[in-house]
Symmetry: C2
Subunit: 316 residues, 2 copies
């Protein structure tokens, strides 16, 4: 079997960003130069075969998604990506698989200007990828979960539910009009770093939709000790989801998970400015509700109680 | 099954160090305040059940070792530990196991002043722990692999081979005089941060012995483009290893791996000062050879060629 050192030097010794890096791969640790006056944001996500993605997922999609979900967390914090480490556990060393995986990882890393600075490659029975991503933000640009205010408008950065529908398609539980689009959303989510950039100084709170819209909104509400009213008719659905049973479509959109859109709150005083930015920058964001201190939890515009059941990797 | 959020809040929401932490667990990422003027050192190590430790290893040993091997990398770089993230993949959620694991992790984290700042808990068929540890060093205090010089003396920070003998004992391939000591070395290695502290400004290169003495010395030699002469009779062995067949003992000590001692080089101009520090600070370090530019690879004092075959997780 190919050795750990050979795998690292053959597939993971590329780099594209040097200013903040003294030494990357090749010593006991990477030596990095943090920018002065900024705060460091660190996030970790693990993807495991058959838990977080179906085991027939292509190598390029796995690599893309493993980094994208971490970039999505940096976006949700308002941080600019800088470095990441990769811990890769492989059941075998298939050169074709490693080539596709490393090329795809390099592509998304380069696209979002994040440098691979180290990691660990191990042999194990189940394919598992843990990425720790690091980014930087000016202290006043950070986006937290705990700082929503009553009256703020609740926004999402794009369509919801397509990834969950894509998973149902891959698992042959459901077939829609545009399977390819939904499976692409599942396999290669887009981290919303561009939108995050424009939310700085404007949004009052932010999270990324990984567990599902309701579960993630509930994280903001709990952290901010507030409630919310949701306009179900404003939940943005793709044409694929608009063409299926509405209850099923809403279920994918509200509880499906894996969307990696941003879910954020805009204070009313910034609303006009935010709408102007969206227009100028061609950002498609959707207002889906409002924070309300007089509500306990989440209700619909018609007063129906919603609960936070989102996708939970230990329950689902 | 207990949810991911419950596991984090019940077992991993302790903390002991606040100055450099704005927000730890509870948002999409941790927000951290890097000290001014220092360089950040980042290292990642994964431990997988039945690959890096026997599957009957107690929970407290697994937690200790998972953090200790990362702390050992920080020590080898000359960095002071600051933060770590924990990615934990569990085949089931046994409260007793989680309690023992988290208490042991908390204990070693507190002992070496490193704060848990986030992570990910997932369900998977194989127990796997990936820790990314971060530390800081003054730029001129960093210890690299690539900076050894011809003439430098080669040192190790303690006895070699006991962990490998411990593994043989656990696997019932070997029984010695003091099994408990060797198994303790295997399960609960001591990261050599105290010695690392005293090597700053004195050692010319450093690595930790994880793959095995010869394999790790070879990393220094390759990075520094030099060779070395090893005095096999100076390799420090415990009384357990002194009492077995000498060739077998040397094999554990030279190629066994998992020692987590530091292997470093001392320029002759600092040698007297280094010996004085060892005496003053009660540090037991052993001189086992010398760097020599005229040697290609590694040879013994008698001129016998040594090769770098150490423990390799993809071969062993």
């Amino acid at each position: 079997m190919t050795s750990e050192f050979d795998i690292i030097s053959q597939y993971f010794s590329w780099n594209h960003k040097a200013n903040s890096i003294h030494t990357a791969v090749g010593d006991d640790g990477a030596i990095l130069i943090p920018p002065v006056g900024k705060q460091l944001v660190v996030t970790t996500d693990t993807l495991i075969s058959d838990v977080h993605f179906p085991d027939n997922t292509p190598a390029d999609a796995i690599a893309h998604k493993a980094l994208a979900v971490n970039l999505s967390d940096l976006a949700a914090m308002g941080a600019e990506p800088e470095w990441f480490t990769l811990a890769l556990t492989l059941p075998n060393t298939d050169p074709q698989w490693l080539e596709a995986f490393s090329q795809s990882l390099k592509k998304i890393a380069s696209q979002y200007s994040i440098a691979l600075i180290g990691g660990d490659t191990t042999s194990g029975s189940t394919l598992s990828i843990t990425i720790t991503a690091m980014g930087f933000a000016e202290p006043h640009h950070l986006l937290l979960r705990s700082t929503a205010q009553s009256g703020d408008l609740i926004y999402v950065s794009g369509l919801l539910g397509d990834a969950a529908a894509g998973l149902a398609m891959v698992q042959q539980r459901f077939s829609g009009q545009d399977n390819q689009h939904c499976i692409e959303q599942l396999n290669k989510p887009t981290p919303q770093l561009t939108i995050a950039h424009h939310l700085r100084g404007i949004a009052s709170s932010c999270i990324d939709v990984s567990d599902g819209f309701l579960a993630d909104l509930n994280h903001i509400l709990k952290a901010s000790q507030l409630g919310a009213r949701i306009h179900l008719d404003q939940i943005p659905l793709s044409s694929t989801l608009q063409n299926i049973d509405h209850q099923e479509a809403l279920n994918y959109a509200l509880s499906g998970g894996d969307d990696y859109q941003l879910l954020f709150t805009i204070p009313q005083k910034h609303h006009a400015n935010f709408k102007k930015i969206c227009q100028q920058q061609d950002l498609l964001c959707y207002c889906v509700g409002q924070i309300d201190h007089s509500i306990n939890g989440m209700i619909t515009s018609q007063g129906k109680i919603l609960n936070a059941k989102g996708f939970n990797h230990f329950l689902g």
